[in-house]
Symmetry: C2
């Protein structure tokens, strides 16, 4: 199995609300397959927004769930200042500041926001894992 | 906010078990920052495995949660046969087949497996979204 993660799909309670949030972040919804689902190209992968009930049905599981969802997404930044700016932007777009940016034990500067469905995004300046010009990150060899 | 998703972190109940599973898929754990956390370079992004309780603590939330987690990850393939092979490989590695591969309404061929912590991976042949040689996917313009 090749080392490849190509899509991240978020189940959302209200597709229009979720699309508005991610568009307000400054991201562009693709015109691809636009009925009842939303696609955003993020570098070399695709973020999908899809109604939570439909996603559960596609998997073949019950849609109910509560509490901590056991995953986070991250947006690595090039500086502490970019971390602060992104967190402020996410709040202005309607996100919830879950953890203010702060110096963290692993040597970076990081905070979290939640999207309207509670998906947790870490916004992290990690001096050992800076985003490259093409938006990717590469672990040191 | 640049369109960038650089890390996906999965909270796991047993780090060693999770690492064994992803290594059995054929993926290579990075030597980067190896104590109590595992990093896998997947194309231009990084998959992290981290104890669920520690991840919740980092966010500042309670670790409890149950039911559908409201997200899926996907591994796009180049063919139906590759989808079948990947699902078989994931089962051999200790994954659970959640949905056998089948023709799906959007014109592809797709199934799901779950990792040892229940994270859902779709393995999908989508003729409109084939992986490129560098492992990325690009939505049609």
């Amino acid at each position: 199995m090749d080392p490849r993660l190509t899509l991240v799909t978020l189940g959302v309670a209200d597709l229009d609300r979720a699309v508005r949030f991610y568009e307000a972040l400054g991201w562009t919804r693709s015109a691809y397959a636009s009925e009842g689902i939303a696609f955003f190209q993020l570098g070399g992968l695709v973020l999908l927004l899809y109604p939570r009930t439909a996603l559960a049905e596609d998997v073949g599981t019950a849609p109910e769930g509560s509490g901590f969802r056991g995953f986070t997404l991250a947006h690595n930044t090039a500086s502490r200042a970019e971390t602060d700016a992104v967190l402020a932007h996410a709040q202005a777009a309607g996100g919830v500041l879950v953890k203010p940016a702060q110096e963290v034990f692993w040597g970076g500067y990081s905070g979290y926001f939640a999207d309207p469905d509670g998906t947790l995004w870490e916004v992290a300046w990690n001096p050992g894992l800076l985003p490259l010009p093409d938006g990717t990150v590469r672990l040191p060899a």
